[in-house]
Symmetry: D2
Subunit: 371 residues, 4 copies
Amino acid sequence: MRRLRMGMIGGGPGSFIGPIHRIAAEMDREIELVAGVFSSDAARSREGGESYRIDPARAYANLDAMFAGEKAREDGIDFVAIVTPNHNHLPAARAALAAGVPVISDKPATATLAEAKELADCVAKAGVPYGLTHTYTGYPLVREARARVAAGALGKIRKIVVEYPQGWLAGAAEGKQAEWRTDSARSGPGGCIGDIGTHAFQLAEFISGLKVTEILADLAAVVPGRPVDDDCTVLLRFENGARGVLLASQIEVGEMNGLRIRLYGEKGGLLWRQEVPNTLTIHSIDGRTEIVHAGGNQLGADAVSRTRTPTGHPEGYLEAFANIYRDFAATLRGESAPLLPGITDAMRGMTFVDTAVSASRDRAGWVPLLV
Amino acid sequence: MRRLRMGMIGGGPGSFIGPIHRIAAEMDREIELVAGVFSSDAARSREGGESYRIDPARAYANLDAMFAGEKAREDGIDFVAIVTPNHNHLPAARAALAAGVPVISDKPATATLAEAKELADCVAKAGVPYGLTHTYTGYPLVREARARVAAGALGKIRKIVVEYPQGWLAGAAEGKQAEWRTDSARSGPGGCIGDIGTHAFQLAEFISGLKVTEILADLAAVVPGRPVDDDCTVLLRFENGARGVLLASQIEVGEMNGLRIRLYGEKGGLLWRQEVPNTLTIHSIDGRTEIVHAGGNQLGADAVSRTRTPTGHPEGYLEAFANIYRDFAATLRGESAPLLPGITDAMRGMTFVDTAVSASRDRAGWVPLLV
Amino acid sequence: MRRLRMGMIGGGPGSFIGPIHRIAAEMDREIELVAGVFSSDAARSREGGESYRIDPARAYANLDAMFAGEKAREDGIDFVAIVTPNHNHLPAARAALAAGVPVISDKPATATLAEAKELADCVAKAGVPYGLTHTYTGYPLVREARARVAAGALGKIRKIVVEYPQGWLAGAAEGKQAEWRTDSARSGPGGCIGDIGTHAFQLAEFISGLKVTEILADLAAVVPGRPVDDDCTVLLRFENGARGVLLASQIEVGEMNGLRIRLYGEKGGLLWRQEVPNTLTIHSIDGRTEIVHAGGNQLGADAVSRTRTPTGHPEGYLEAFANIYRDFAATLRGESAPLLPGITDAMRGMTFVDTAVSASRDRAGWVPLLV
Amino acid sequence: MRRLRMGMIGGGPGSFIGPIHRIAAEMDREIELVAGVFSSDAARSREGGESYRIDPARAYANLDAMFAGEKAREDGIDFVAIVTPNHNHLPAARAALAAGVPVISDKPATATLAEAKELADCVAKAGVPYGLTHTYTGYPLVREARARVAAGALGKIRKIVVEYPQGWLAGAAEGKQAEWRTDSARSGPGGCIGDIGTHAFQLAEFISGLKVTEILADLAAVVPGRPVDDDCTVLLRFENGARGVLLASQIEVGEMNGLRIRLYGEKGGLLWRQEVPNTLTIHSIDGRTEIVHAGGNQLGADAVSRTRTPTGHPEGYLEAFANIYRDFAATLRGESAPLLPGITDAMRGMTFVDTAVSASRDRAGWVPLLV
């Protein structure tokens, strides 16, 4: 069974996320990077190709050249990974889908909700797989958490607290990563809420298996002069009546990438933290606290199959990311990968951003989340 | 210099907080328990006196008897500690103050805001000290946190997240402690918000040195049939424009007494957790993280003077509580104890409870906190 | 039931441990400090008495005066607490026992093994209680650990690792506490091994219920010119064949009071750390890890009865110390307190120190521990 | 610059470490796996080749076939990775070196010291690079620790405690991994001491920059009937007089892969734990404790260049392993990679194992480590 061939869009010199997608995609030898448009600038695209050590002829100057060039090859690409800033997600995906090429895309799916709707149409028309890299759902213990909740370990869920604190934008937005994320023309109307709030939102729905139906949003641009939000508080109501709180911030000095989630039900509680991802804490109402270890022998099939090392040998962000690519590869091969985030998550996430931004601006109080 | 003599009101058989007040009051040999009305039932009051090993003649049947009896003695009480359920706080304090006896009271100050106003009048008229046992402000590292914030270590404060998760009321409210706390006739209109939300509110103001000016409250009675709130989310605005989030819950299964607070400013961040109270984490915007240890040699005078053991010898809740009593004793002796919580905290806390309850009920959105 | 009356020997101005004994003794209102010889200097003894707020007439100039004075009173002392440097333990205990007064003593029991033997004779002759304040055995979760091991939770014990790292003597020995501890005339031939190694040794035997039968000791004076050991490695064999390692050091910079112990058996493992004393970690051979919380509802009777606060309200060193005094008070009242460390622990501890010092000096390899 | 081509020896069906070497080698796109003798059984070798998705023609039946076949290709292998059980390390390395093919090998280098000497001769004669995968030295914060110690952050080193607790062999040795590791014919005379003790030994020398000159070893086969050691205590002396303790065990129930190290000098202390590898704790003698974060901006060049993700995005065991391969690739390309473990570490490690086993068997006390 041959490796699937990946083309990359974006990820050129200075990119943070491009090399990470490459490592994640290739980790399990299911996929190899063979081509790309690594930059909209032809010279920089070539430079990008060199950095990945691919055939220079396959470091293309633009999307059309890539889709045409690859179509003409026997060993052409099987799919593209989109790793550009947000505003380029839709154009790239549209071109790929028009060419009948499956897409896996960094999040958020698009810069705006209108774009997301167009994307959904394109995906529907193309009839090829679309994946969205909500990386954190790839962690084995996140899968385990979801499985335990689904199996009723916590009883009916009553309360979810999901937090995503960061501090790297507490000062002026300097450097490529900071600049486009704080520029609404490139990031879309949501700043922090789109960049990391969507991860938190998706994680809460993913683990709980519950949909958010109403929100109350309070977004702020704390750093003076910042054109997008950098600190977000959102109250949530889930479809079963459970209450939730979502906190996301990029101005909390000293916080690194502190995504964490707590779920509480009638019978138990559960805690997971991205920065120490290899343990899961489970409380039961009788007062017991259990620590579940990645790679340990209390885990269900989904977690086990997504673990590469024995217990005590830490896996991290790259391995979680690789699990998303593994599910995407399975989808391309026609196998079942029911937990792969896709166009539904894309629409839910962009609706969440759009609703939060407008409701906060209008001080609208509780509003429904209409996806 | 003789020990101050304490009378206790409440704290009889089955009391959780009475014996804790006694230990805290006596820890530094500044104070000794000598008398009390330990129950409104005379027999139970006697039984309470025996459990504390005090002179049986000084275990009184009612408040009048105690104030009269003690006044008649040369070695009569110097003050009373009120440790009853909330609805008895005002009657007890009123009687003491009317007798010219200083009061230290468990929190919240009263059951209702109207009672708090009456209390404030009584205190003003009596002209004797009144202290409120916001225990957590007694921790040496909370004092240190306050001192560092005041000294500008974090720069201008921008964001405060204070959480008080508990899980012990996730099921039916059984037992003396649970029963009165979930009975609005005894606890007041606030359940969780009064019982622990007030601690979180006061701690945020204490450490930051900032007053809350506006709130948006969302309180719920999650357990079916519960007459008071047991899960609270409150958004805060501070006088300097800083944003805050206050979470308090008594239905988060597995949480014990997880009060914790994070403050973020322009230059740094700070984290303290009640359950591991002997470390304080300080982040600076240059990326450094420092762990400050109780008893260590980076501490300021206020923290040092409230520490009894060398670093690495954990102090806990009782020692923090004792620090409140030490400050109260200092006040009685005419010394300065500027950080002792008192009638101002009482009024702010009850206004917070009252405002949160009514604003949440009315879905009022942001409302001012008018103390 | 009246409070027991305590006289203190040592604990005068500048003492670290005197005030701690006082707090611990009085915490449960079983005991009160009423008299003492707080210093061998009469003026300093008076000063000590004032600091404890006791009757000035009962701050004696010497032991004879105290024992005579107190014997003459109706409300004379019931026992003495010895809190001097090591070399004064025997003289103080001898005098008390000769006067028929029960003794509770700080550890190590004496400065030398020869003295310990004399002490044991005195105790035997006097026929009154003798207690030794191995404080750490007072922690509720240490009691729980012992109970679980005794109940077979770990199966047959195979391996014990006990560590006691400190760093406060990494530099020159300055200040009263450091000076006498590094002076063999006052501390005895053992430095670190006597000061904290004895705690570690006693804790390993206490929790495991097993006696050490052989040791291999490697002690060093790491700081140049130090006349006693400050860094100790001791290999242990227990009576059932289990292997052990005891590490104690006072030159490990940054370590505070890091006593910790791990026990492993055929069926499970267990970990406890003094600096975070309110959790106990239990591993079972099926891969499960459980966190047991102080005050939680999985605890046995011995732990429960020695806990003063609900779960999540941290207790610490002073409360553990108070549990030792509670057991001593029970012994004085004729009640059963089988876990109170006493003259047997004294003899075992001093034999351990003496054997370790001589075996290390002689590079003797494995030697029996002959108590 | 093309990718280097790797042949693998071992790593066939059921192998734990083969797939891990493959992921590590390929992570940075410096290297690709193209060939192998994945098993000494031809059919199983083919099966192994399929699992790695390599050209079936390059899944060879034996070493001779591989070296001949690859030599005949223009795109033949550049080096081999040896991932067999210990007793096959020497034969595989000997064959590769005889063919002039560079070698990277799993540790320990060989099964016996005699074999290691022969290996060293082969390496010397072949004049091609030899690398040894002491994976843990690949962690960025281990590099940082080494750099800080070298820069004098701790002052003169006085004490090192290195521990490697595991529990997976506490019961009967079942399964492929357990079986060969407890069979002296395949693992060599050292069991635990060779399997993980060598890692601990090498890590202590790596971070401290100091050589061990003397040891006192106490090894045991705790599980009845086990032919090799499974629990090891070794006292160390370093060339500068510093004292050390090395603990390694495979019978400590509940321990996973708990490699950890603490170094103490005249001015500071340092702690690193493999299971939470992204933080490093640094104590200074003035009482300060700093937490250094992987990816943070206090790190030196060596750590920074070996980090793939921003701070807060955990990297783990596979990324550390990849750093070893990155250094090996650099060596093959003629670049400097001074921290790559090689034949010197091989000889030191096997001398350590051999000396520990014989000294423990003979109860020899302190013995020199003569490499």
